[in-house]
């Protein structure tokens, strides 16, 4: 079964060696593992747009970056993606929690939960929705987008994958 530990191991296997983000409870397990290891020190970002800037610089310096965020942070970072990453072609892997998915969540998440996929699509951001058995396929698509097309790739993560406490 997919969990934070084996997901992180797979990311490392894929060569991802730079980790930052802003926490979300749906990704709490993943953050906890990142904070506990020091092979690739986790850097706490203060905002998601700053995290996009950080990852972009790291990529240009030769790293393969991963940015963990709640989908609310997608709103904060939309300008960074459209005016930086998509036009300069600066890739990164975005692990985005899908709060408000299916309309069942706290009020502040409902609208973004509803428009999350549409917003990714209209802004031209490649993404996949994670399931229990598609990780290989998702990472293959991520590799294609990040390494070959040099564009950001987002993995949308619903509740119940990486929220171990």
């Amino acid at each position: 079964m997919l969990n934070s530990q084996n997901f992180f191991s797979r990311l490392k296997q894929e060569g991802f060696n730079f980790y930052t983000g802003v926490p979300c409870s749906l990704l709490a397990g993943l953050f906890s593992i990142l904070e506990k290891q020091d092979e690739f020190p986790y850097l706490a970002s203060v905002r998601e747009d700053a995290a996009v800037g950080l990852c972009s610089g790291a990529y240009m310096g030769g790293k393969l970056p991963v940015l963990l965020m709640q989908n609310s942070g997608f709103g904060y970072s939309l300008n960074a993606f459209t005016s930086l990453n998509l036009i300069y072609k600066i890739p990164m892997l975005v692990v985005m929690s899908w709060r408000g998915c299916g309309g069942k969540d706290a009020p502040e998440h409902i609208i973004m939960g509803d428009i999350n996929e549409k917003l990714l699509e209209t802004s031209g951001m490649e993404y996949s929705i994670l399931t229990q058995d598609n990780l290989d396929e998702v990472l293959a698509r991520a590799r294609q987008t990040i390494v070959k097309d040099e564009l950001p790739f987002t993995i949308l993560v619903k509740k119940g994958f990486f929220d171990e406490r």
Binding site: F18, L43, A44, S45, V46, R47, D49, A50, A51, V52, G53, L54, C55, S56, G57, A58, Y59, M60, G61, G62, K63, P65, N79, A80, T82, S83, L84, I87, Y88, K89, I90
Partner: protein, 186 residues
């Protein structure tokens, strides 16, 4: 000192150090003063030159990285000062051209006359932080910052003077990235 003089002085002092230029006139002035492969020009993404510079500095610890920022940009991303201070890259020099206005959009006032940005950087935890007002001072302070451990913050007080005829960066965003990546990993 004038803003364009300050940008030109910083650019003249450089060897092969990668520079991340903030959006607006600053990047255009840097491009006009001295276009080089190791210049990254931010054309949008206001506020992100500093976080991007931090990323480059962490990925390339053996190189001095320069961020050429603006007061409006720094005020927009003040939290990034905390990120830089916390990560404490010894190889980062953060120069802020403080003209007191958003010059690129028509000289509207920023808060920089009411907020002492050099103190914000210092109390966030930058190793060094200072203000310069004269061109000679700037040259000396920048040289010192390049030759010592950072992160260093240099607030450069200037008069707004950018020339609206200053050329726009002619390279495409993809070219800017490619050139910069090659230069940064050399």
């Amino acid at each position: 000192m004038k803003g364009s003089e300050a940008v030109a002085a910083v650019m003249a002092e450089l060897d092969d150090e990668p520079v991340v230029n903030a959006n607006g006139f600053i990047g255009r002035e840097a491009f006009t003063a001295r276009d080089r492969e190791a210049n990254f020009y931010m054309i949008g993404s206001m506020g992100l030159a500093s976080s991007m510079g931090l990323g480059v500095a962490l990925a390339q610890p053996g190189k001095k990285i320069v961020v050429l920022d603006g007061d409006g940009n720094v005020l927009m991303a003040m939290g990034t000062l905390a990120m830089i201070a916390a990560a404490a890259p010894k190889n980062l020099v953060h120069v802020t051209i403080d003209n007191g206005v958003y010059e690129s959009t028509g000289n509207q006032k920023t808060l920089s006359s009411q907020i002492e940005l050099e103190k914000v950087a210092k109390s966030s935890g930058y190793k060094n932080s200072l203000v310069v007002t004269e061109l000679d001072e700037l040259k000396k302070a920048f040289r010192t910052a390049l030759d010592s451990d950072g992160p260093s913050f240099i607030l450069v007080k200037v008069e707004p003077n950018f020339d609206h005829n200053t050329g726009r960066v002619t390279h495409t965003p993809e070219e800017i990235k490619r050139r910069f990546m090659t230069a940064a990993s050399r």
